[in-house]
Amino acid sequence: MSSTEQGTSSAAPAEPTTAPESAAAPEVPESFYYVHGKDKVVHKVSAGALQHSALIHGMISNLGYTEEQAKANPFPFENIDGDILQMVVDWCNQHKGKPTPPEDTNLPKQKEKLFDLVLAVNYLEIKELLTYCCKQVAMMVKGKSPEEIREIWMIPTDAEDEAAEKEAKKRAGKEAAGETAAAAGDAK
C-alpha cells in the first residue's frame, strides 16, 4: 500500500508523511497512529479515520501517546488477519469525517471474507460498518426458501446437530477419563 496522508502500510513503522498543507486557514496538523494485524504489516491511519473504532479511539484517549510513541508502539491486533485489517483501515479512511450513508457501496465485496470481517469489525467496535456488514449477511438470504437458507448460512440439520452433540459428549468423556488416569499416575 502506498503512503498517503491518510494511511500507509509497510513491514516496519513508516516515517510519518508530512501533513497536507492547506492553502486556506492554518489547521492543526493531523496525528497518525499505527496498527498491525496477524501478518505484522503496519498500517498508518489518521486519528480522524480511527475515530470510527470505539475500541481504538478509547485506547488512544487512555494511552495519550505522542506521535513518536505511537509510531514506536503500533496497536497489535493479532486476532485479525492482515487482509481483513486492510479492508477495515480502507473503509475508515474512505469514511473519515463523513457522515455514513444509509447504503454503503464501499463495502468489501468478497463474501468469503465477510465472516472474518464481521468478527473484526465487532471487535474493533466500528458501529456503522458492523451495521452494514450485518445487512450484507441478511441480504444473502433475501427471498430464499428454508432449504436455500440452510445451505447459504451453513445451518446443520437436526441430525447433524445431534451427531455433533454426541461426538462432543464422547470427547468430553474421554478427556475426563484421561485426566483421571493422569491424576492417578501423579498420585503413584
Binding site: E112, A138, S145, I152, M154, I155
Partner: protein, 515 residues
Amino acid sequence: MTDQRFPFLRLPDDLRLKVLQTTEHLEIFAFSFTSKKAYSIVQDLRLPISHILITIEKRQPQLIVRFGYLWVSFLWRLSRNNKRMTNLNDLPARVEVSNRNGMIPFIWSDQGKSIAEWIQHLCSILQSEKCCGADFHVYRNIEFDIPTLRNVFPKIGSIDIVFRQEQEANEHENLLAQNFLKAFLPDVQKLRLEHVRLGEHFSIGDFGMANLKELKLSYPRNLRVDDLLIMNAENITIAGANLAEISLRDLNRFFKLWMKGSNPKLKGLKVWWETNTIPDLNVMLKGLKADEAEIEEGSVMFKIRNSNGVLAGIRSQRLGTVVYVEFQKLARRIGGGGGGIEALGGGIGGGGGGIGASERMEVESKDRRWWRWNRRIGADGGGIGGSELVEVESKDRRWWRWNRRIRAGGGGIGGSELVEVESEDQSWWRWNRRIGAGGGGIEGSEVVEVESEDQSWWRWDRRIGGGGGGIGGSELMEVESEDRSWWRWNRRIGGGGGGIGGSELVEVESEDRSW
C-alpha cells in the same frame, strides 16, 4: 442455487441477533424452519406481531401475520387438482409465501409438516396470545374435533364462523360449527357469524350468554328481537338484517325494553337492512319520548334514558338502499348550575359578572376510539358574551375537529374562532391559534403549541395577555396525558376590569378515558 456461504451459527449470539434484526420477517420465518436450533433462536427474538389471522377454508387455508403495516402470508395449497382439506393433518403440496400485494409468491416445500404443525410452528414463534383471530368456513367433508382445535390453535381473541349461503344445514356442518364455538368461546372476545341460521346451526343460547365485547351477525336468518334481549355482548351488529324478522317496530319494542332496564351491558347496537322502501322513523321512535339533538348537519340523534338514568342515543341514516340504525350508550351527564360554573370536575368558582352557567354535557369514549362533548357557557354581564365548544369528535382516533366560538360581548373579547383541528394518523399534531385584538377586550391570545409524539403525551400553554376592559388574564397551564389514560388541567383566569372576575377550572381527570 447460490455459491455464497456464511457460517451464520458460528457468529456470537449478539451478532446473530444483530443480523436477524436487519433480516426481513419472511426470511426470519424461513430461517426458523431450517433446524430446531434456528427455531429456538427465532423464538427468542419475540417478533413484535400485531395480529395473526388464520383462515380455515376448504381449498386455500391461510395464515397471515401482521407486523403493523407489514405482513407475511402463508397459503397452503393442498394439491394441483384442487383437493379440499379434510383435516388439519393434511400435508400441503406447497406453501405460497408472500409479503407484498401483487407479488409472485415464493414457493416453499411443505417442510415435512402438516397444516396443523405449520400453524403450531408459526404461532409458537409469534407468542400470539390474545392477538390471534381465526375464520372457520363450515363445509362438508371436513373433520375437526374440539381437542384437536384447542391443541393446534393458540388462544384466539376473535373468531368468524362462516356458513354456506342459501343451503340447507346438515347434521355434520352443525356439529362442526358447534365444535368451533365450544373450542374457542371461553377465550373469544369478538364473534362473527355469517349466514347463520338460528335454530338450525346454533340456538341463541349457544353464544348469546357469552360475555363478548363484540358480536356481529352477518345476514342472519331466523333472528328475532327477543333473541337480542338475551344477548350479553357489549356491542352487537346485525349486518344485512331481514326486515321481515327484525323491523323498525321490533327495534322500537327493544328500545322500550332497554329503557325499562333490559340489556344493561349493551353499549352499542348497529342494525342495517337492505330495502327499497323508505322507512318511517316515527315507527321506531314511537312512545320513546326521545330528545332530539342535532349532532352533524343532516344527522339527528334521539336521546333516550333508561330506568337507571343511563343515556343513549339513536341515530338513523339511509344510504342508497341501505337503512342504518345505530344505538349508542352515552356517558353520564353532569348538570350545569346557577350563577357561576357549578360542576365541572373539581368545581369552578363563580365570577362576578362573568360566565353565567356552564354545562359539560357529554364526554364519551368508546374503547378510546371516539369521544365527543358539548360544553356551553351562557352569556352574562359585561364579560364574555357567549362561548360554545360545540363538538370534539374522533372516529377511530384518526381525526377530530371542533368549533369553538366566543361571540363578541360588551367590553369582552372581540372575536375568536378556533375553526378546525384535524389529525391524520394521529401521530402528531400542533397548532397555533391567534385571536386578534377586539374592541376593549383581550389584547392577544395564542395557543403556542400542542404537540403529540406517538400520542403518549401532550401539553400546552396558553396565555392571553391582559387587555382593557376585557378579561384580565387567562392561562391554561397544562394539559398532559401519560399514555392517554388520564388527563387534567388547570386554568386560571385572573381578575380583570369589567370582565370575568375569577374563574378556575381546577381539575378534569379521566380514568381510562371512558368518561
